[in-house]
């Protein structure tokens, strides 16, 4: 399990510059996976691209007419959902970061021999079906449950309501519940890369900072945080990307005001049967993610994507 540490799920090892030229060898090694990705991912993606430029309907069939207007149409109609998805994904990412950072630090530096066990516990939720997990959240946040009771008794619901995260004095069916679900689901993807980088962090630097008159807060911002950026970058990517496309959480824990773009794609694809617009929306989503990610990665200055 210490391996999951290495899972790095992103963090780049410092000694990690590839160093050899191997003639054919790398290509032979890559062949199976690459073949798989090309046949089962690239090819469908290309046909998806062509689909996004077709016109027609289910009864008369679709023909490729290079109808780029679909993209403009998709954007103009669904920009609010795009925006909302980005905002939700971003706030979920922020949430996972806020919760995941102390947890990763705790596991890396304070957990002693419990380290491995805690790492497994972080990943273990994946072994319980996603629907059961989400239903468990429904049980936890239910109107008559103790959590809601606590929130009501302490007036926290009013606070949440005031900032627009909930309404109706309940927790379920709100932006709050959706964000909670998203954070919960993607926390492991944040914690693992953060853990990998924080564990490697040279704690002597913290002593040095203290020695140079930095108190706890300054030590964090001036030393720990900048040094953990690579982990923060991979963690945020691995959280943000799937969260932006997710809709299970918004569907089961949200309300009619919390529809995310994944739900729209789903509806266009399955219910309206408007394949071009569904394909176009998918492409816009992928493109948006990749542009955001590329810009982010460049700004953060890490060499490789994930």
């Amino acid at each position: 399990m210490a391996a999951l540490t290495q899972a790095a799920v992103g963090a780049e090892a410092p000694a990690a510059r590839p160093r050899r030229r191997g003639g054919l060898v790398p290509f032979l090694l890559l062949a199976p996976a690459l073949l798989w990705l090309v046949v089962f991912f690239v090819v469908p993606t290309i046909s998806l691209a062509s689909q996004s430029l077709q016109t027609g309907d289910i009864d008369n069939g679709y023909t490729l007419t290079w109808h780029f207007a679909t993209y403009a149409d998709a954007m103009s109609r669904y920009w609010p959902q795009f925006l909302r998805s980005i905002i939700y994904a971003a706030s979920a990412t922020l949430g996972t970061l806020l919760l995941g950072y102390p947890l990763a630090w705790f596991i890396a530096h304070r957990a002693g021999r419990w380290k491995n066990l805690l790492l497994v516990l972080v990943v273990a939720p994946f072994f319980t079906n996603f629907l059961i997990r989400t239903l468990a959240w429904q049980i936890i946040l239910t109107d008559n449950g103790p959590v809601t009771g606590f929130f009501r008794a302490t007036g926290l619901t009013n606070v949440l309501q005031a900032i627009g995260l909930t309404d109706n004095n309940s927790l379920l069916g709100s932006q709050f519940a959706v964000t909670c679900g998203l954070i919960y689901n993607f926390l492991p993807f944040m914690v693992l890369p953060l853990y990998t980088i924080l564990e490697r962090l040279d704690t002597r630097l913290l002593d040095a900072a203290g020695d140079l008159y930095a108190d706890g807060w300054n030590t964090f911002w001036k030393v720990i945080w900048p040094l953990s950026l690579p982990g923060v970058v991979s963690g945020t990517l691995l959280t943000f990307i799937p969260a932006a496309g997710d809709y299970i959480n918004s569907k089961l824990l949200g309300n009619t005001q919390t529809v995310m773009i994944g739900q729209v794609i789903d509806a266009q694809f399955l219910r309206v049967l408007d394949y071009p617009i569904a394909a176009a929306l998918s492409f816009i989503l992928m493109a948006a993610i990749i542009i955001l990610v590329a810009g982010y990665v460049r700004a953060a200055g890490t060499e490789e994507l994930v």
Partner: protein, 269 residues
């Protein structure tokens, strides 16, 4: 006050840990429930019924079996292919390396509905009938990227001097790989396989598109069942899987610790 300041991170860490564990705890608790009605959402009465008759919910155990089989097969295949690719990417410089890195990254960024449906279209065009094979292909596709990323990090942090030492000690490249490289990368591979297994075992959307007429995986079963009620047996499976994962790792660590303690004791003698 000083105590609080020093242990703040521990307290927060434990709270977040609790946040992660609470849903699992709920699942576990409700696996001992005897619900009043078909929905298992309110505590009614303690009962071991579901634990004693785990398969009494029609089709669940078959679905579970299928899911386990698919997860094992897919994670195995993804692990083999992903490990090979990770070696290529972590080890060699070659033309198109960054393009390949990008290609590996894309499937992780693709919405599942899109991946599921476009794969289905492809299978039909290729004439591959939907069923276990198509599920397997799809699962390998979306897990292989995770394996590659995971193993690549491990491969990259491997000291190249070790393989050279093996060569220096008369091991030809094949022997050097199996005796030195592989055992050292193994933890990374295990992590990748574990992640692949978890992702495969938990996937619904992509699977649902590519499952044939009579292949129902466990997530599909759960999704279907949840429409009309949630049999307690689902919680039993969730609980078993969760503690199973813990146990496997726990035992692994125990064996490791035993070995270490053993050698330390010898040292003391």
């Amino acid at each position: 006050m000083a105590w609080l300041r020093r242990n703040l991170v521990v307290i927060i860490g434990l709270l977040v840990m609790a946040y992660i564990m609470v849903p699992n705890l709920v699942v576990t608790i409700f696996s001992f429930n005897k619900p009043n009605g078909r929905y298992n959402y309110e505590w009614n009465q303690f009962s071991l019924d579901a634990w004693l008759n785990p398969c009494s919910s029609a089709g669940m155990c078959e679905a579970l079996g299928l899911s386990l089989w698919v997860a094992v097969a897919a994670s195995l295949a993804a692990t083999v292919m992903g490990t090979m690719a990770a070696f290529a990417l972590g080890r060699y410089r070659f033309k198109g390396r960054s393009a390949t890195n990008l290609l590996v990254f894309f499937p992780m960024a693709t919405p599942e509905v899109v991946m599921g449906s476009s794969l289905l279209t492809l299978f039909i065009a290729m004439g591959i009938p939907s069923g276990q094979l198509t599920i397997l292909i799809a699962h390998i596709l979306f897990t292989v990227s995770f394996v590659i990323t995971t193993v690549k990090a491990r491969v990259a942090s491997l000291d190249p001097a070790l393989e050279q030492a093996a060569a220096d000690l008369y091991a030809n490249p094949t022997q050097a790989f199996w005796k030195v490289t592989f055992p050292l990368v193994a933890p990374g591979i295990a992590a990748g396989a574990l992640l692949a297994f978890a992702l495969s075992f938990d996937d619904y959307i992509v699977t649902n598109f590519n499952a044939g007429a009579s292949t129902v995986t466990f997530p599909m079963y759960v999704w279907g069942a949840a429409q009309r009620g949630t049999p307690v047996q689902i919680n039993v499976v969730g609980t078993v899987m969760f503690f199973g994962a813990l146990a496997i790792v726990g035992i692994g660590q125990l064996i490791g610790a035993r070995l270490r303690v053993g050698s330390r004791r010898k040292e003391a003698l």
